[in-house]
């Protein structure tokens, strides 16, 4: 297990100074093998040993920014030769034919990919209970959910098994479990990190997103993965954009670690009015008030700001995400992907239904919803209205971020909830993401950072910035993290 306080940057420094390159990966692998949280779906010791041997033989990578750092990977990333199952029976036995860009960039900087983590099937869910291989348990209270869909990665970091993990974001699948497990989770700007090698869910929303035990490590892994990539045409080099700001907030990835200690003096922070209200647990509100006070004490100007369309953001997401996934998941048909079983001699409809009948209930529910929302007679009423609202939300968020530099809200309206508590009520589960979907729909970068405890469970503060201004997120999250540590209470085991 990663030693308490051992961070990715410290491991990389030790390896660069001559420590055995496989020391921490070996410990992480042993801890993952002993894991009782069901955080990991697949571990391959021989594969880890091969990576360590390759790193030992490569002096340049031993000086990399993630040299020898064990990283856990969500089960929807392609790594050549390894299983890629999206926690689904549909992809049982499937092995990835190539390694995606984000993973290549991690390995180029010396990272060791130690295993594949549990998730909601095809990243659809907010508790990791929709996995075909059973739920992951929250390491802070094993009777509770770790959040989702990237709950296995969040739990692996919170339990101290790894200092870094990869998840994916469509509507909050990294920020929400980060909040519920007391770690840092970032959704980068849409277009910041290549999705090459990430199994598609809703392509206008999907992002590669990291978990880290602290803000500086989060800045480092994000910087390693950032950058344009010909394999994903949605990625851009922000420096090439017309009218690009020259402010420090828009600084390049190399500046992000320094930004973590910059502070927030002179920054303007807006607390989203629509994210305050009866649906938010009192303990969550109190912790967020504390975060607001810390930012003010550090020199930021804080005020409340209204963004009316965000009140309908979840309704918008409930239509757009299923509409997109209903098209993306058409490829799991038993011909291109998915096991045919013994039905190859039958009619093609039999093959389809044999394979697609292996989808779990939540995936089936969303397929039905997306098919309905796009059907003739209802597309105008649901899909086009949702697109119109999304466009208005982008305009409103952009306008708000002209008045302030950052937006502040809770990441989740509640702390970690008991396993099974929302399983029978899909809408209640969707409401877990009510504060995370606005940044997803608008493409803006947002981070969740621990800001206190409620009833002994962690609370996450969410900060949202202008497009490609991740540096501002790291600066403000760094202030909250420092203040929480200085307060001497409230931090989760891995928060420091």
């Amino acid at each position: 297990m990663t030693a308490p306080g051992q961070r990715a940057r410290q491991i990389a420094a030790e390896v660069a100074a001559g420590a055995a390159p496989g020391l921490y990966a070996g410990r992480a692998l042993a801890a993952a093998q002993a894991d009782r949280l069901n955080a990991f779906l697949h571990l391959d010791a021989a594969h880890v040993e091969r990576q360590i041997a390759a790193l030992a033989a490569d002096p340049a990578r031993r000086r990399g920014r993630l040299a020898g750092v064990p990283v856990a990977i969500k089960d929807n990333f392609m790594e050549a030769g390894q299983p890629c199952g999206c926690a689904s029976k549909v992809l049982e036995g499937y092995r990835a034919p190539y390694t995606g860009t984000a993973l290549q960039r991690l390995q180029a900087e010396g990272a060791i990919l130690i295993g594949r983590t549990n998730m909601d099937e095809f990243a659809m869910g907010s508790s990791t209970e929709n996995s075909a291989f059973g739920p992951t348990l929250n390491p802070l209270d094993p009777t509770r959910a770790p959040g989702g869909s990237s709950g296995g990665s969040a739990a692996a970091v919170a339990a101290g098994i790894v200092p870094l993990a990869l998840g994916s974001e469509t509507g909050g699948s990294v920020r929400q479990p980060a909040a519920l497990c007391g770690v840092v989770g970032l959704k980068p700007s849409y277009g910041r990190i290549s999705r090459s090698g990430l199994v598609a869910f809703a392509s206008s929303l999907d992002c590669v997103a990291p978990f880290a035990a602290d803000v500086r490590d989060c800045a480092r892994i994000t910087a390693v993965m950032a950058g344009a990539d010909p394999a994903d045409s949605t990625t851009v080099d922000p420096a090439s954009l017309p009218g690009r700001s020259a402010s420090w907030e828009a600084g390049p990835p190399e500046s992000w670690e320094a930004a973590c200690g910059r502070g927030v003096r002179g920054m303007r922070v807006g607390v989203i009015a629509e994210a305050e209200g009866p649906g938010v647990e009192p303990g969550v509100s109190s912790a967020l008030d504390q975060a607001r006070a810390w930012l003010q004490a550090a020199g930021a100007t804080v005020r409340t700001i209204s963004i009316p369309s965000t009140a309908q953001a979840l309704a918008c997401y409930c239509i757009l995400a299923p509409a997109e996934l209903s098209a993306n998941l058409a490829r799991f048909d038993g011909v291109r992907y998915g096991p045919r079983g013994d039905r190859t001699g039958g009619a093609e409809g039999g093959v389809y239904e044999h394979v697609r009948g292996r989808f779990g209930p939540e995936v089936q529910r969303r397929l039905l919803l997306g098919t309905f929302a796009l059907s003739a007679g209802y597309a105008d009423r649901y899909y086009l209205r949702a697109q119109a609202l999304r466009r208005r939300m982008i305009a409103e968020m952009d306008a708000a971020l002209q008045e302030v530099d950052l937006l502040l809200s809770p990441t989740s309206p509640t702390v970690a909830f008991p396993l099974g508590a929302r399983a029978a009520d899909p809408l209640a589960m969707y409401l877990s993401d009510i504060f995370t979907v606005p940044a997803s729909l608008t493409g803006l970068p947002a981070i969740s950072v621990p800001c206190g405890l409620s009833g002994g469970l962690p609370v996450g503060a969410q900060l949202t910035a202008r497009l490609f201004e991740e540096a501002a997120l790291f600066a403000a999250a760094g202030v909250i993290e420092e203040a929480l540590f200085a307060a001497g209470a409230g931090q989760a085991p891995a928060a420091r």
Binding site: A311, Y352, E353, L368, L369, R381, Q387, A388, R392, A395
Partner: protein
Amino acid sequence: MQLDRALVSRLAGLCRIGVDEAAAARMAVELSRILDYAEQLGEGDSSAGLPLTLHRRADEPHLFSEPERLAGASAGSGAENGAGNIAGNIVRVPPVRGEAT
């Protein structure tokens, strides 16, 4: 918006998933609740949004009208992908039985 079991079964057929009657009945209730929640999409001001009209392509065959380009398009990569020999715009494939004449 209320969905019934029959409509859910029809949707399940469209998206090629096997849903039995009990599941269809349960899904009908759940989906109706979600769609009721989504009705709030109509509450806001949509003036800054997209026109609320869906432009659909005519539902008719769309023939590719440039056969020379179509055949030529495979000239660069067809052979290495197993498409056989390409001469001009003619693709020669291996004979199914016996030698080519």
